[in-house]
Subunit: 287 residues, 2 copies
DNA sequence: GCAAATAAGAAAATCCTTTTCGGATCTCAC
DNA sequence: GTGAGATCCGAAAAGGATTTTCTTATTTGC
């Protein structure tokens, strides 16, 4: 368990002085991580022994252990709390985007519903045919990646970003098929309709979207990614990174679900990669 | 500058004892981060003052400053050095994929050639027409994203994943155009040819690829991402995350290059988003 | 209202870290 | 070679930081 989350959680039983320490640490992580025990104690208006006891209560052996743990575990979360910086220079933009992407991964990881992902992996690996639907720039990237990851495992998968085509395909599925749909906002009404049509046919539906959204409610299995997005319209959404990760986890689990079944396909891909590595080939599989 | 990279770099001028410390730290970061100065000194067979001097040489104020810096900056890198873990459970797979993605972002951020990105942004923002080329699952995702990010800024951009079409388009460009090409391996021979054709026409070429590769050498501006990829064929490449980040930075810089020019387009997009947010619309722009 | 538990600081002890100092080794010009 | 100057590095001491111990409130539960 990560110490940062521990500190933030509500139910934590702390005494008055310890709570003051916790607040101080959360409020100024930079200070907490760099200060000595006496400085920290002074600023929280407690005595040094109280700080030591506080660290022990949080599961650390000593104050320095606490500092190291804090420095490690909160590195990503630490920057998350800072107010939106107005970045202008290339270096600021780079820092900001990379940080946001790492944060998105960090937060999404904490939210992961592993049971749902495992269930989705099981369903996908047994599917007769997989239809991956998504529209708009971001979701169409996601379904493209979905295909890119799953065809390699020997699964039968097609994608569509066209609503008309999605409706027709959703009407044509059989009970053994799976319809996978991605929607960032969760309010893609056509996707909801496509799910509904597919469920009428007895197919299983999987949504990758925001929780408590129409799309989420329309699907059998829901993989949720709920991230706060900044207001900067110049900034591409960092949710993409999180969704990509969910997809990668899903694909990986599908691969592991039935290793013997996917092994043959993967071996062929690997051989193909090795065979072409030194030739004048365009490295399609690697690219 | 991140202390982890500093430690690894070759040209660092360290004395014998200091080198022994550096080796020890790199070899067992976990120990280095948790040990006291006396323990560390004892294990490196040097005296405590030498450790203090070592920390100062690396730009830290004190030993504890060094430990915190190490814990912070190497948190991601630290796990990177660990041998490939055989992950099986869903939770392990998730942890592994998220960590690798964060690592990829972390490492790529450190390698960024900001000058090249700024140059690319300047060239793109002034381009008459942009052609984005990439083949294979990963690179075609990248060029798709490239289009997704740049059309929003009012730029004229088309993509192609088809070599034949790429050749034809590359032959048809004018001096004012830009050809952007992505290749994970850097050995996409057709892309090299397309770059060469485009340069013959006087167009500017930008590559997003591995450094010192044929594709990198064939382009005017090179945005490099050099990441070691594990051997696990089941595992999707984490380089995608890094490339996506480079793209986001690029797109953001393009947006900032000429705010007045892109402002109009962005405003329309924003209005469109707001107008459709509560309607029965598929949220195309948001998705 | 009182025993037991808990909380928290003062003081002391311990341990860690840094500074100071001096000896050893190396470098390099002559 | 050889001596002046650098550099390296540990011993010892000084100075803090951290923890332990002890003690005194304060709270809790009965």
């Amino acid at each position: 368990m990560d110490i940062f989350s521990t500190l933030m959680q509500e139910g934590l039983k702390l005494s008055q002085s310890e709570q003051r320490l916790a607040d101080l640490v959360l409020e100024d992580l930079d200070f907490a991580v760099n200060a000595s025990i006496t400085d920290l104690a002074a600023r929280a208006e407690v005595s040094p022994p109280t700080v030591t006891r506080f660290c022990r209560r949080l599961g650390c052996q000593s104050f320095s252990d606490f500092k190291v743990t804090l420095a490690k575990s909160s590195y990503v979360g630490l920057r998350y709390l800072k107010p939106e910086a107005r970045s202008r220079t290339a270096s600021e933009v780079a820092e900001d985007i990379v940080t946001k992407a790492q944060n998105a991964l960090f937060v999404a990881h904490g939210q992961l519903d592993l049971a749902a992902i495992e269930q989705a992996a099981a369903v996908l690996s047994k599917a007769g045919m997989i239809y991956a639907f998504g529209s708009g720039g971001n979701s169409s990237m996601i379904v493209g990646e979905m295909q890119n990851r799953l065809f390699r495992l020997g699964l039968r998968i097609t994608t569509s970003t066209d609503h008309g085509m999605q409706m027709m395909q959703a009407s044509a599925v059989t009970a053994n098929d799976v319809v996978f749909g991605s929607s960032f906002s969760g309010r893609n009404a056509e996707l909801v309709r496509a799910f509904s049509l597919a469920r009428d046919q007895g197919a299983t539906t999987i949504a990758l979207t925001q929780s408590n959204s129409p799309v989420a409610e329309a699907a059998d299995i829901v993989l949720t990614v709920d991230l706060p997005e900044g207001e900067n319209i110049f900034r591409p959404t960092s949710t993409r990174y999180a969704m990509l990760a969910v997809l990668d986890i899903l694909a990986n689990l599908v691969a592991y679900t039935d290793r013997t079944a996917t092994a043959a396909t993967l071996r062929r891909i690997k051989e193909s990669l090795i065979r072409h590595r030194d030739g004048d080939d365009s490295q399609l599989l690697g690219d």
